[in-house]
Symmetry: C2
Subunit: 637 residues, 2 copies
């Protein structure tokens, strides 16, 4: 299980599986208004359509790429050095930060001074950075000043995914170009539940969404390595992958591998939920090598500092932990400030009580001291730290339901309302904020969560764990929860926190991480389609066309996981020749429904049905025309 049992900084190496380019894929960089805005995308090339189906060229399509430089064969990867700090100049240029001599947290200083940790420690040469006194360095602050940061422009380019360029390349691809562009660009109208996604994302739109708090850009000034991304209901639905060791198992090297593996398959952010030894050092390795935002739950580490005794926690220890982690570059903090003293007894008669680790820590503290949650009473001081490093809030749902039984109860919904109150305080400080949500919720109660969240939290991005739609499938909770995640994503959730098959049973290994990511990429994309996100259907259309035309390799490569698709195909028909064969194992070579459809199409074409003309008039018109023409055709016969 332990990929790197004797992790040593001097010999740490990248996971080779994470640095292979995906098949038929090429990393491209789209340049923005300045040379140092270089937005990565994955370009998937396709083969030509077989002549029997028309013989056209199929231009490459562009997909969102979270994998960072790892999948770029031109990038030099050395995890001992970390990634290049691509945002450093942007941060410097803003001229509102200062370099610190070293960590200012007590704990950060102790760890740095401990010679026993030398062999584990990432060798960071860069000094930590902080806002100058009186300055606020949050993206929300800039947005509210009307400033479009390079991060915002980067995100606008990234979210558009070169869709117009793809459609233009179709239009100019040959005599059928216009027709192909209409075919492959067509999309069903969505049901958006109030989301309002423009056809083209502009930098100004990004700014305006961040300014009103409807989206966040998690981007700590001490994590200049990230490729900026955005979380908001008017953007592509994102997913988060949790990693992290525990007191029982796993090493630093294994966690770094899980991170590179998670982003390879599409994790938009990664949360490091480590609770075991060397949390500080593990985190440093992860952040320095992560091109995606990293989130943490600082109370976990604070608890370690008091040897697991929740009642011994103090604001001072917690505050030091926030500064320690902010100076390492954590991009968002889960803060369970909504677990109020008065909500705690509401959980006593639940089926599964408090299942959030952070929530139960705070509940225990509240009960032990008969005092209000110190995260709540010190919330404005926390805001001051957040805005000095641009750490975003992920306001934790410490009272989320841990079973169907406990769904949507007063403890959960009371806390959610308090998170709305805290959102307004955070926004007063121009601190970026998202809201965490359930949990275990049966399908018919999911929408209520979203509706209350949108109303009570003023459209701050919702970030939900699942929800799991039943409790009866331990071992398959990536599926019980993908069902709920797809729905809540459709209703308006901005980021879906994955659940792996190991949920409730154990710590996820690399296979579980990938399984969880896949289930959640599916849920997020299904939600984008259902909302009617402009262009979301382009990838479905391209893949379906490849499928219909027996372009097996393209079908694999356009999918979320080319390796698995190819492997499954090869189990039944291993020969390479089968991948260009015009049949598959389901029907065999003598009968094929796709072939028959081709006959239908040929027949219709021969009878003078003008496909191109019909298409140009739109599908509705076309359908009616075909009914008439088709009926006429056969009535004559």
């Amino acid at each position: 299980m332990n990929a790197n049992p004797q992790f040593l900084a001097a010999t740490a190496t990248v996971d080779e599986a994470a640095v292979q380019p995906l098949p038929n894929s090429r990393k491209i960089y789209v340049q923005g208004s300045r040379a140092d805005i270089q937005v990565p995308m994955r370009e998937i090339s396709q083969s030509d359509t077989p002549t029997s189906f028309g013989g056209e060229k199929n231009p490459p399509i562009y997909v969102y790429d979270c994998s960072g430089p790892y999948t770029d064969p031109n990038a030099k990867i050395d995890i001992r050095s970390g990634l290049a700090p691509l945002r450093e100049k942007w941060i410097e240029e803003r001229n509102d930060t200062e370099l610190l001599a070293g960590p200012t947290s007590k704990y950060g200083q102790e760890r740095l001074a401990d010679p026993k940790l030398a062999e584990l420690r990432f060798n960071l040469k860069r000094q930590p950075r902080k806002a100058q006194a009186g300055k606020n360095v949050s993206q929300m602050h800039y947005a509210r000043q009307g400033i479009i940061t390079p991060e915002m422009e980067y995100i606008a380019i990234r979210e558009n995914l070169q869709r117009q360029q793809y459609l233009e390349s179709l239009r100019t691809s040959g005599p059928n170009g216009e027709k192909l562009a209409k075919l492959l660009g067509r999309q069903h109208p969505g049901q958006s539940f109030g989301a309002n996604i423009p056809a083209e994302i502009t930098p100004e739109f990004v700014r305006s969404e961040v300014a009103v708090g409807r989206a966040i850009i998690p981007a700590n000034i001490n994590h200049p390595e990230i490729e900026p991304m955005i979380i908001g209901r008017n953007f592509l639905v994102k997913i988060n992958a949790n990693i992290g060791n525990s007191a029982v198992t796993s090493s630093i090297g294994e966690e770094v591998e899980k991170m590179t593996w998670a982003i390879r398959w599409g994790g938009d952010t990664v949360m490091d939920l480590s609770t075991g030894k060397h949390i500080h050092e593990t985190r440093e390795w992860i952040i320095r090598n992560s091109p995606v935002p990293i989130g943490t739950v600082p109370i976990y580490q604070a608890l370690e500092k008091v040897n697991g005794k929740a009642e011994d926690l103090t604001w001072e220890i917690f505050r030091d932990t926030l500064i320690e982690q902010a100076e390492q570059g954590v991009d968002y903090f889960t803060i369970h400030a909504g677990v109020l003293l008065r909500y705690v007894p509401l959980t006593a008669n639940r089926m599964t009580g408090i299942v959030s680790r952070g929530g139960s820590i705070m509940a225990k503290w509240c009960l032990a001291h008969h005092k209000e949650n110190f995260l709540y009473t010190h919330f404005e001081e926390i805001c001051d730290i957040m805005k000095a490093y641009d750490v975003s809030f992920s306001l934790g749902d410490g009272l989320r339901p841990g079973s169907i039984w406990d769904a949507n109860d007063e403890a959960q919904l009371g806390e959610l309302r308090t998170l709305g109150e805290l959102t307004q305080i955070a926004w007063k400080h121009d601190v970026q904020t998202m809201i965490e949500g359930p949990g275990h919720v049966p399908m018919q109660l999911i929408k209520e969560n979203m509706d209350i969240q949108l109303k009570e939290c003023f459209e701050a991005p919702f970030y939900t764990l699942g929800p799991l739609t039943t409790d009866i499938a331990p071992g398959y909770d990536h599926i019980t929860s993908a069902i709920g995640a797809a729905q809540i994503g459709w209703y308006g959730t901005a980021m879906l926190c994955y659940v792996t098959p190991k949920e409730h049973l154990g710590l996820p290994d690399k296979k579980d991480v990938k399984d969880g990511i896949m289930a959640y990429k599916i849920a997020a994309h299904a939600a984008d389609l259902a909302k009617g996100h402009p262009g979301a259907q382009i990838r479905d259309n391209a893949l379906s066309k490849a499928r219909f035309e027996f372009r097996w390799e393209d079908q694999f490569n356009l999918g979320l996981d080319p390796d698995t698709a190819r492997e499954f195909h090869d189990e039944t028909l291993p020969k390479d020749s089968a991948k260009v064969a015009h049949f598959c194992s389901m029907c065999g070579p003598h009968f094929c429904s796709m072939k028959i459809t081709q006959d239908v199409r040929d027949f219709a074409a021969k009878q003078g049905v003008n496909e191109a003309e019909a298409l140009q008039k739109g599908m509705e018109v076309k359908s009616v025309e075909f009914v008439k023409q088709g009926a006429a055709l056969y009535h004559k016969a």
Copy 2:
């Protein structure tokens, strides 16, 4: 891949993996009004609650069991003899059938006479049975006469799952019995979209639902081995597993193994979609050993009989195939009678044309002959065959969409309306009928399918494939489709046809069959919960209680797949002692959120909060009381 490459009737043996009882489970039989109504259920026993959590006894719970005698250690299993014909007496008693001398289909007779097939052939000694001239032996016919058949009573007992007995055993389990029964029997109100499920299913309710056509009991008089089950929106949502060899791969033995494997994990019906050699013999082996209804698509075999040339199909060949299969005992036939000539050209400009094999065969036939679909023109003659054996219609969706692009188009919805017209003809003959549905459909268009189906097909049970909610995840279509299946099940679909991870890529092996079943058991149960099916939450509640109390073994055993849950747990914490430990690998032994909840509960109890009293007043009252008491408590401090 080939489990039994040299399949020989003389040496055929059962798959050992399919005959092991599930852990801590016992097959029980609940007797009906007569001694030969013995309804199987799986009883899962539980350990006691640890004393630190209350120490109560946890009575066994009862779950729906499709696995037949295979999981009964007292049953003698020999697949060469097939299962006991438990319905034989019921069928005889009705005194409306006659025994035939042998198969009456031409093809059935040829196969029986072919000495080369002897070594492959199942040795059936029983004669086939048929309705006496002028009689109708369908369950719908009996229902409409006001007759409650033993099948109907069996189903009523089966659907109730001993829920009242379970709750009663809780009530009488000790001093906290009433409280426990309320706790474990509590359920969230559902959103039923017009479903109307009584708290207790009576035999009369079963009869009335079958009489009006809102439910079907697939139960061919030549398949007396089945354990009766029902498909209808006012019953538990069911799932179907497809198996079947193809010209390219797999043997008879392998298909029988897939069937026993599918029912072990919860397949309510199995479709044999074989298209390769020895279809007739494969089917006989499957039916004789299947306790669940078997469905087929007879046009597949008819096509084999004309060497794969759709244009050579004739009504006579098809008719002979229906009789051949009806006399073997197939319980439902997919008949693509809605693929009308005028709909065929509507598919010409689709992204993926006609993806249903049956649909494309009929389309090809229609085009080749410029004639209306012979399944449509001969529909009443088909009804005559159906009612002579009680084969149910599964009216096929030959024009279902094969891509998101093609969803809800005029071809698909036109066919659906025609299926409604055919439903009324079938009902005129008292032939049981369900309707097949999509396909690939994005989430926002799923409900339209259900709404049109309910209206145009008069609430005949809907039986849908998925739907797949995106096209971009080949290798994971059990998940893309479980998302859609859970939703359409919630909206009112009665049976969900599974999709395996191999969909679009290859033929499913046993692992894929199990993965598909699991995803669909989850979808079906999530739908039951969302509809508010009475008692659906009992299993969730019991499992969540076990989870909260660290009863690891019970958590595994109450789940859908105890083997996988245990295996995942053991990967992280392999020691047996960990399964009784009051911690898990996620947080480790020094900190545990569940433990803290227990502290909260103890604290609340000590402060005089009367949980039992509050529970009796219902959760809402309780919550308010706790807020008040909790607040008072802390204000004093």
